[in-house]
Symmetry: C2
């Protein structure tokens, strides 16, 4: 690759009049005993020559690289972007490289990425899987890869999961709306294929039932399965479509609870464009508290997930488990969501 070859450990050894073993020990923070003056001499020679050990050779010898990977279904979703930021920060602080894999919601791509990561001796990955079967993931866990699941339920997966209390947050949001006097609450969602979505929906139903409101199927609005040919943000258009359905069907709900903020923005857009006032005519709520939620007009009432912090946390777990070379317990860590009241909801 380089015209001007980079110096190798042998060059440094020659320059410092020592063996390559000594250079290796001087450069790496080996606990092998060695003369401090010599170590210093070698180090200064190395830095003078601009020597840096070949990552490839290290990988080969140590059977491990310093990549940490995040695998997500769709990086355009600000929720994942927030998690990415947290992960990236931790990864970077610890001198690992951050690799991003975007599965476009396809399990097959997910498998392919995992295989590639394994092949390049990647030690750890944080994954928001679209596969409902834990077998593939378990297969790599058994081969020694450290994997942390992000925000999902994958029954039988042999790795830890960090997630939010989705059911509780569905309940929290719904109870808040009920507290404002709403009894006819529509539920707008992407297909209920993902566990988190199901959980939020169950929480919504729980809250209704607890308040003696019978859940009504005509209040459930499910977006069409995403059309992957579309390059923009699928959830925004899904929300817009749902709102169009909502208006066309003359649903008499007084509030719409959306499965996440992006869907809520799509819903808001179409409602406002059609002259529906929010929150005067109808209240709208989301989940996530994406950075944009407070900026939108009307500012969006939502449930906050500390997603950046979650990312940090997942990354720290992973690095810790890699450096200690301990296995990861299959714990499920659940973080508590928080209600953020803004202007898109009102008392009736």
């Amino acid at each position: 690759m380089s015209d001007h070859k980079r110096p190798t450990i042998r060059d440094v050894a020659r320059e410092a009049h020592v063996s390559i073993a000594t250079v290796s020990r001087a450069i790496s923070n080996s606990d092998y005993p060695m003369n401090d003056a010599l170590r210093e001499r070698v180090r200064s020679a190395a830095s003078e020559m601009g020597y840096h050990p070949s990552v490839a050779a290290q990988m080969l010898r140590q059977d491990a690289n310093r990549d940490i990977c995040l695998i997500v279904p769709n990086i355009s979703n600000p929720y994942y972007l927030q998690a990415l930021r947290g992960i990236n920060a931790v990864v970077s602080e610890n001198d690992y490289m951050f690799v991003l894999c975007n599965t476009e919601r396809q399990a097959q791509r997910e498998h392919e990425y995992l295989r590639q990561l394994y092949q390049r001796q990647c030690l750890g990955a944080i994954i928001s899987s679209v596969d409902t079967n834990p077998d593939t993931i378990n297969q790599y866990v058994e081969k020694g890869m450290k994997i942390v699941l992000l925000d999902q339920q994958l029954r039988g997966a042999k790795c830890p999961t960090i997630r939010f209390d989705s059911r509780g947050s569905g309940e929290l949001a719904t109870n808040y709306l009920i507290g404002l006097g709403h009894r006819k609450i529509a539920f707008a969602t992407m297909p209920l294929s993902r566990w988190t979505r199901q959980e939020i929906y169950h929480g919504y139903q729980d809250a209704l039932i607890n308040s003696s409101i019978t859940p009504d199927d005509s209040f459930l609005f499910v977006a069409d399965p995403p059309n992957d040919s579309y390059g923009g943000d699928i959830e925004l258009t899904a929300g817009a479509n749902i709102a169009a359905d909502f208006l066309a069907g003359q649903c008499d709900a007084t509030a719409i609870l959306c499965i996440n903020d992006m869907v809520a923005f799509g819903v808001l857009q179409t409602l406002l464009q059609n002259g529906v006032r929010v929150p005067d005519d109808i209240s709208v709520m989301g989940f996530d508290d994406v950075p944009f939620a407070g900026v939108y007009s009307p500012a969006l009432t939502t449930i906050r997930y500390p997603s950046e912090q979650t990312g940090r946390f997942a990354a720290m777990m992973l690095l810790d488990s890699i450096s200690s070379n301990k296995g990861l317990d299959t714990i499920e860590m659940q973080l508590n969501p928080q209600l953020v009241v803004r202007q898109s909801t009102r008392k009736i």
Copy 2:
């Protein structure tokens, strides 16, 4: 790393009763002549054993890895996210791995990332540099790294640049506002340290002068240098602060041209919260056409940069130059921006 060791080329060779050289030639698409039946036998043996060549060994032998890296100042900016998507798509299609480096606007981090990439024999990077000095980048270009600059001017850099006609877009936006009858047009911007920002500003001035309007310094609103301790999106808050200044100073501009959409959203938020109607009382415009721009209410009039496409383009250039092993010319490719009229601006 793995408890259950992965098969090596030697295992496959033993299984298929051939030499490792033959296995290597059968697996890779070498143009070395070999018996087709044998190649097939070796391949099926390999795939049956689940053999995949060690990336580390390949790297070591070939002095190159299959990483493509994107280095950006701030991944939270949807503009970079869009570019990332384009790059990632191309990189992934070509069986490269995508590495992301976030410099947090610090030149020093940028240097450190470049060094790390070089050390791990990364062949190519796409970079939106925060360094105003081309020396570091040139140094790596000379070592053989392929680098493409994204959307900036770095005088003296020995690598190609893909960017938009920022000056033209500034002019385009301003002329549009002038065409609507605006003559007092405020300019809201992040610090004018980046070349693209300066260019947009110059375009704005050009347009004013061409319409015989004297640029007025009191119409220039520059955000305070970003406070990096803030975890959220710096540009949103910058916009909000600018709008606060604007209102406090009782500026009588009838339109605000914002340096990008994120700043525009921040501006809009504060204006709307203070009862200022957009576009009735004042017109607001941005640059970028972030996916959100059409969703905001009022939908944002802006200048569209095809940033995802730009990303694709940069990645394709890079991969092409890597595979053909040709140097990259220091061309400057300029893409044309496009006016997107929505609802945040009006005729007066």
